[in-house]
Symmetry: C2
Subunit: 243 residues, 2 copies
């Protein structure tokens, strides 16, 4: 609990501690993914489920925009929509994620229809969209701060996956290259915003809690994958079954 | 009531009839505005109240985006956000509307804070934002179709206002010049969408009802202005009082 007003730098340090303790790079499924310990079916399951997360991000960002009354804030946040949807068919983060699922041999129509996605993935992702729709703008911005920690995980992921999996190519991983540029730009903005706008200990606690919540959203998705596809490997009814 | 499935062209004709009967170019306040029958204070009241409508349009469009699961549809609709918010400070439809209120001598901070805006304006505009947030995507698209009728009203408005009011300049009306290009592009898309997607008599009725609803939203705003500033001229508590 925040019991006195932190300086902006103390708040940033506290946020970074949340990441150091709770970001999903610490999850065993992630270590297996990077470390080459998964088979193709398990990587397919990861990419398929993660597609649902990707596909909901623009809806989450638009929900934010629909509540942001300041045009300057909307202009800044609109770039996130542009990053994900692109400017034409085949562009943007979602299309690049589909290049990954294509490369892994998953039928695109099935991926886009969300066939076989784990219910726990939907629950976690939908909870995130609802959070951004319902909570304060400050909490909504703070919940995006997991991007502070994503450049490290992305670098590990790309090099690890290319090294270990012959069914993964640099081309299918091009999503991550773009995120390496976009995420720091976005997280710089969000970090400045919360450091400036959280003006009471209660608001600072909300900011920290929002980041913990978002870490939970990411972590829960890997828990579900681990449970279904690693140990005990209990795929729920309707869940994707590797070839 | 639509009792059998209309052809797309019949649906379009029915939509155009709604506009011919209910669009706010028929409202006496509008005729006075164009015809030079208003004084500066009344034109100020119009511009001030209409600002609230302008300022909510991007929130309405973002609410739509937050529910549109198709990236192509989002890309198309995103242009509306860009039109209103621009790409930098001072650009876009909202900034251009502020040029009008500036030109009319209204203090910008008061306008942006919504000081003096009629409660009925807020109720009508907020009802529109909620409508787009809560109704089907088809109805949300259809509710934008008043733009089919806006080029005519804009042309009348610009020429009429320039002719009749010495406190209005071409520069302060530049909002409308842009809308003359944007509105037809947007309404072409929306019209094609509803003609294609309304596939049952019930859906076609919903589309017509959505357009009637939106005409009501626009009409109610002029009713409120007329009541407060023309006849009987009963400005409600807290309402803007011309200098």
């Amino acid at each position: 609990m925040v019991t006195r007003l932190l300086t902006p730098d103390e708040l940033e340090a506290a946020l970074r501690r949340v990441g150091a303790e709770r970001y999903h790079n610490l999850h065993p499924f992630h270590r297996m993914l990077h470390g080459g310990a998964l088979n193709r079916g398990q990587v397919q399951a990861w990419a398929l489920n993660r597609y649902y997360y990707q596909s909901r991000i623009p809806l989450k960002d638009a929900a934010f925009l629909s509540r942001a009354e300041d045009p300057a804030l909307r202009r800044e946040w609109r770039r996130r929509l542009e990053d994900h949807d692109g400017h034409a068919e085949g562009e943007g983060g979602i299309a690049r994620w589909l290049a990954l699922t294509d490369g892994l041999g998953l039928p695109r129509a099935e991926v886009e229809a969300g066939r076989g996605i784990l219910p726990a993935t939907r629950f976690a992702v939908d909870a995130y969209v609802r959070y951004v729709r319902d909570k304060s703008l400050l909490e909504a911005v703070a919940s995006s701060l997991t991007e502070l920690f994503s450049p490290t995980i992305i670098s590990e992921r790309v090099s690890g996956m290319l090294r270990h999996y012959d069914f993964i190519s640099e081309d299918t991983l091009r999503y991550f290259g773009h995120r390496l540029e976009q995420a720091p730009r976005d997280s710089d903005f969000a970090l400045d915003f919360v450091k400036r706008e959280a003006r009471t200990p209660e608001q600072q606690e909300q900011v920290l809690e929002a980041l913990r919540f978002k870490c939970d959203v990411l972590w829960a998705q890997l828990d579900a994958l681990h449970h279904a596809y690693v140990s005990p490997g209990l795929i729920p009814p309707g869940g994707f079954r590797p070839g």
